[in-house]
Amino acid sequence: MGSIGVLMLIPMNTYLEQELQKRYNLFKLWTAPQKPQFIKEHANSIRAVVGNAGAGADAELIEALPRLEIVSSFSVGVDKIDLAKCREKGIRVTNTPDVLTEDVADLAIGLMLAVLRRLCESDRYVRSGKWKKGDYKLTTKFSGKTVGIIGLGRIGMAVAKRAEAFNCPICYYSRTEKSDTKYKYYPSVVELASNCQILVVACPLTEETRHIVNREVLNALGPKGVLINIGRGPHVDEPELVSALVEGRLGGAGLDVYEHEPEVPEELFGLENVVLLPHVGSGTVETRKVMADLVLGNLEAHFSNKPLLTPLV
């Protein structure tokens, strides 16, 4: 096993890195002064790529690795992987579904509460000494607000289940209406946004869902509406989001993802109706360990000719 080359694209998890180092011949792309050179140099021994939400195997990389057999992503989203190319070349792809569903859903609710109840802003208020001068203002109740979910997959359903415990009516948009759910369906995102107060992005990023939250949707959500993005930055037209917030056409936003991470539009830094997180949806000690074990387990299965644990391709 020691001679199998595995290319890790960016730092993502110390435990995963250490285990990969123990089991395989690990190449850390981020340490290379010249990346294309580095890849060329080691291309003949690299049989696996490990990426995550931030970096994946695009067509160029796949072409540069003639011995590539498997791409194992330390994430559930695989929008950075050229799946079509992998299929074409018979390259296997695995991700980490299910194990991070709860953490991401928890964070979505946490963002809703943080935005509506201004948790971060009032914490700043206390720390700056302002409480000594006067009470903090009123903030909007969360319980009972209508929550609209784009994408009723595992994460969307988990968000719905949690929001229901707060007596929030649930509605959703999905490519097709789901027959086995009691939640109200809307056939378009604009209609969904017009009929909810909190809009959550919980679908995969594909060509169809890029900028699924655009100016029209943001206007429909409105000055009392709140957008929660725990999907991918490109789901939302970011410049439109920024102007909607700055101009008060949108009531607030809780964001875990951005179009060009780690860049966050600086216009948002001065707004008290936004909460900004550095893509930590699955960021718990417990879940990252389970995700890492899933990556390792998939690689091990592949290289021992056993069925993959969580294959996508």
Binding site: R117, C120, T139, K141, F166, E261, V280, V285
Partner: protein, 333 residues
Amino acid sequence: MATPNHPGNHDHQSKELPQVLVLEPPPIMKLHGDRFLNDFQLLKAWESPLPLDQFLSIHAQSVKALLTPGRYPLTRNILQLLPSLQLVVTTSAGLNHIDLPEFQRRGIAIASAGDVYSEDVADMAVGFLIDVLRKISAADRYVRKGLWDTKTEFPLGSKLCSKRVGIVGLGSIGQEVAKRLQAFGCRIMYTSRNKKPSVSYPYYSNVLELAADSDVLIICCGLTEQTRHMINKDVMLALGKEGVVINIGRGAIIDEKELVQCLVQRELAGAGLDVFENEPHVPRELLTMDNVVLSPHRAVRTPESLTAMCEHVKGNLEAFFSNKPLLSPVMNI
């Protein structure tokens, strides 16, 4: 609807409307004005130039009803100046500002906030817990300072699912907290003055044992002589180094000095606090900690709760003056 009261000599107009004494305006009045109480004649003590005892002696001898906010202590001294008092309506979720035994002795009924605020307070408790475990406020600060880059990882948080949550006080607020956290996969246990037969959560008869079996303690009880400093050093040590304390009750339920020490010495992993022993003063050490979330006693302060409280207060006063049962009488003092 409003029965005329039978006053002694007093020089107010509108003798038909029942009188309600207000010593200090509650938050709802400051924010909404007093139109919601148009069916009553309000005696506004704070507007008078007279010192309080004089005002009460002259104007409030036949007053039967008092509307009071939470921050105004209702002591024996005040009661002595209100010989006709039969009802206090409080807009506060807590009752620690009311000398309960003295009220009981005098047969004065108390109408509490009922469960008007419970959802908002429970929401805040859950918000704090997610914030502390997942470092939401800390991460927001990190991003706004421009510290996010791809090379250094923001510290990982801790998962909510399967956390053992000990609820201290399973009243209306505690039950709303429990219902919410169950949906996150938390395991709920509780302590309360009495075991609640209608709930299936494991019951602990004392808070120390609850803490020993919990990862999180959420303080949802009222402040009484029994609960003052109930969350002491022993309880916090029993909760443990990974433990989190959330307080949406009253600051004095926790021994604040000990809480700060435990946090400083990492005997506790974090805290979410809406209340403090000496508001608006917050212990200096907490102001620079990344593992605490601080809030200026505002869990009930939403327009929705305050509007609902206006209706609730009006409802209680209407019930009293028409000899109907109060909406939210305080029993079992």
